[in-house]
């Protein structure tokens, strides 16, 4: 036992002290927060570019209201975002559009809006600009025009103009999540949380799997393994390595969880302080029930051990990482399949296919966790998947231990899968 402990200690310290680990652990969450926060700040802070728009109003009664609507939009410094130039419609529309097009090219206008005379009876307006991929900007113009036109239409029907806003108010559909905790509004948070947690699990399993693979291959090609094996059993070395790297993973998670906790607790108010308008824009971080985190750690550990044994066995059988690729294919596939199934499970978490997939030990870490984050499945299913994973992991530890024991001392030709399976029967 003391020997395994020595192996665990070495494995842990060697990885935790590398620059890669330190940078990944600390920079990872900063980067993640940056990716989420910076675009919001940019959008909210700058208010975009100033636009000078030529408005050709065929009806001669829309332009003023339209300008009034757009005047609500300000730049960061308080000046108007939209400068509108009213242009009288000419009889020859194509020629006028062509001329305005040239002015746009020359830089006089950012774009023009062409409102046809029949817009109130169903005509199509046109917006022309060099830059037509600013969808949010175009949406603003469209909405402003829309509300003006609809208002005019209602007015001609004799409705009270002051009540127009009331008449045309769209219906909001709020999503409410019903759980043991009661009912609460869900702004898409449970989707994001489930997605992020499953992806973290998936990536770390890949990442730490590769770490074990590399470690085993390194020991094998450096021939360190022989000295180590003259002191302890191959199984002890394999388990020591896997446990050591599991601790590395847990360390990283603990740091990340701390970051996550702090940012969910204070992140909202920090963003709110910098840019008050961002707070209302759906950034509210969903409240995650604590049991989800407990399951997350349970499924991380179970999934990690299951996959770690496979990576260790593959590492022991090959001479370098390149050779490992082919043997890793089935391992990689069983990691990727759950990711491909995520969309489906998201839509129908309790369908029989979802239930079956989430019980398969190799998929369970990701899919059962995903189901837990969406709707808590019957406890029997959760317990069943955990039990199946434990049994499979014990089986894999036994099987891969036998492969590892032979493979780690085999040099030369890369073995085929049938050959590797033959090793299991070696004495």
């Amino acid at each position: 036992m003391r020997k395994i402990w020595t192996i665990i200690k070495r494995e842990y310290l060697q990885h935790v002290r590398t620059k890669g680990f330190i940078i990944g652990t600390i920079l990872g969450p900063i980067l993640m927060i940056g990716i989420m926060v910076i675009p919001v700040l940019l959008m909210v802070g700058s208010g975009g570019e100033k636009s000078t728009l030529a408005v050709v109003d065929g009806t001669r009664e829309i332009q003023a209201d339209f300008a009034a609507k757009l005047s609500e939009f300000k730049m960061g410094d308080g000046s108007a975002k939209y400068v509108l130039v009213d242009i009288a419609p000419s009889a020859d529309s194509p020629a006028q559009k062509k001329e305005l097009g040239q002015r746009i090219m020359a830089g006089t206008y950012t774009g023009y809006i062409f409102i046809p005379a029949d817009v109130l009876t169903g005509g199509t307006a046109e917006y022309a600009s060099r830059h037509t991929s600013d969808f949010d900007g175009i949406k603003v113009l469209n909405q402003a025009l829309n509300s003006v036109v609809v208002g005019k239409r209602l007015k001609t029907e004799g409705l009270d103009p002051s009540k127009i806003a009331e008449y045309t108010k769209p219906v909001r559909l709020d999503t409410i999540k019903v759980s043991e905790k009661g009912q609460e509004r869900d702004t898409g948070g449970s989707f994001i949380v489930s997605y992020i947690l499953v992806m973290i699990l998936y990536m770390t399993m890949f990442f730490y799997g590769a770490m074990i693979l590399r470690g085993v291959i390194e020991e094998k090609t450096n021939r360190v393994v022989e000295i180590v094996l003259s002191s302890l059993r191959p199984f002890q070395l394999m388990m020591g390595k896997i446990l050591g790297i599991a601790l590395v993973g847990l360390t990283q998670y603990t740091v990340w969880a701390l970051f996550g906790f702090l940012s969910s607790k204070y992140g909202g108010s920090v963003i709110g302080a910098i840019a008050p308008s961002a707070k209302s824009s759906g950034l509210a971080i969903a409240s995650i029930p604590p049991y989800v985190f407990i399951y997350f750690v349970v499924f991380f550990l179970l999934g990690f051990f299951l996959y770690a044994t496979l990576y260790a066995a593959v590492g022991s059988a090959v001479n370098n990482e390149k050779e490992a690729q082919q043997l890793l294919f089935p391992v990689t596939m069983s990691l990727v399949i759950p990711i491909l199934m995520m969309q489906y499970v998201m839509k129908s978490p309790n369908s029989s296919l979802s239930v079956i997939l989430s019980l398969v030990p190799f998929f369970a870490p990701m899919l059962m966790l995903q189901r837990i984050t969406i709707i808590m499945p019957p406890i029997a299913q959760v317990a069943g998947s955990i039990a199946l994973m434990i049994i499979t992991t014990i089986g894999m530890v036994w099987l891969t231990g036998k492969i590892y024991r032979v493979g780690i001392l085999m040099y030369g030709k890369k073995p085929s899968l049938p050959e590797i399976l033959k090793w299991v029967r070696y004495k």
């Binding site: 070495r10 060697q14 450096n222 000295i227 002191s231 050959e419």
Partner: protein, 300 residues
């Protein structure tokens, strides 16, 4: 009392028979040479003594019992393919290996410092292993082998890659350890080293022992039928002489094997006047010759 006993041990890898019905007895306190051509099964035999691999058949008894966790710390092993963790610091790597060999953490630093000083590597303790030259890494590896004060030391090709100065250093330490009563088993291709320091040898070929016993006894079996000659000139004319069985000519020296009951003086007569004789010694055949002959014979 034996340090290692192997009884009818066999080991197969798939269809390849690495060791076949090998029996071996290595007395305690011996300096034992394990010889054999490449691929003879030396390393497999050593690995079975260390319980790294388990024999298919037969029994291996080390230091009086079948190997288990209590025996392992009493063995020191220097593998043929040297390896250390390149990214670790020398001191840390040594502590790690000492610890898995059962050295108490409190005792380790003192022991390591003593050995590092002995090999003149004290200044390198805080350097990474990969920064060391190959020769230095070999010496570190040797420290790993002996740091836990084992009773049985197994060295697979201990001199390969060492310069003459370090070869002497390692050889002297091997003799020191033997003087302390430790059993040393080492494998090598270098026959002159075996001849100089071994008490007993075992010659393995194709997984089987072809020659085994005390070095003196083995040589005596062959009798004094060999002339060791140092000369200037050429000795090609001796080829085909009636009293000569075989000549190994090295250019400035030669090993001449006589036929049964042939008189060495006849050879000396042939030489006088034609070459300048610097040394003419009647001896047992060298281990080299015995090796080539034994291995050559079993090839046929």
């Amino acid at each position: 009392m034996y340090a290692v006993e192997m009884e009818h041990v066999s080991k197969k890898f798939g269809d390849f028979i690495a060791v076949k019905d090998l029996s071996l007895k290595i007395p305690r306190g011996a300096m034992f040479g394990l010889l054999g051509p490449n691929g003879a099964g030396k390393t497999t035999s050593i690995r079975m003594m260390l319980d790294i691999i388990i024999p298919d058949e037969g029994k291996v008894v080390v230091l009086g019992k079948t190997l288990d966790e209590t025996t392992k710390p009493k063995i020191g092993y220097l593998p043929e393919d040297r390896g250390l963790y390149p990214k670790m610091k020398v001191g840390e790597a040594l502590e790690f290996f000492a610890e898995i060999k059962g050295v108490a953490r409190s005792a380790a630093p003192k022991l390591l410092d003593r050995w590092l000083a002995k090999f003149e590597l004290s200044d390198w303790k805080n350097k990474k292993v990969e920064q060391l030259s190959k020769g230095m890494q070999q010496k570190i590896q040797f420290i790993v082998t002996v740091v836990h004060d084992p009773d049985l030391i197994i060295l697979d090709e201990p001199f390969s890659g060492l310069d003459p100065i370090n070869t002497k250093l390692v050889k002297d330490i091997m003799l020191e350890l033997r003087a302390e009563g430790k059993t040393i088993i080492f494998s090598t291709h270098r026959m002159e080293q075996v001849e100089m320091i071994c008490d007993e040898i075992c010659l393995i070929n194709k997984g089987q022992a072809v020659l085994q016993g005390r070095l003196q006894d083995i040589k005596r079996q062959y009798g004094k039928n060999t002339i060791l000659l140092d000369y200037e000139g050429t000795v090609g004319f001796l080829q085909g002489s009636p009293e000569i069985e075989k000549i190994d000519d090295y250019g400035r020296s030669a090993e001449i094997r006589l036929k049964d009951k042939a008189d060495a003086q006849e050879v000396l007569k042939r030489l006088t006047g034609r070459v300048r004789v610097n040394k003419f010694e009647i001896q047992e055949p060298s281990l080299n010759t015995i090796f080539i002959e034994k291995v050559g014979r079993s090839e046929q």
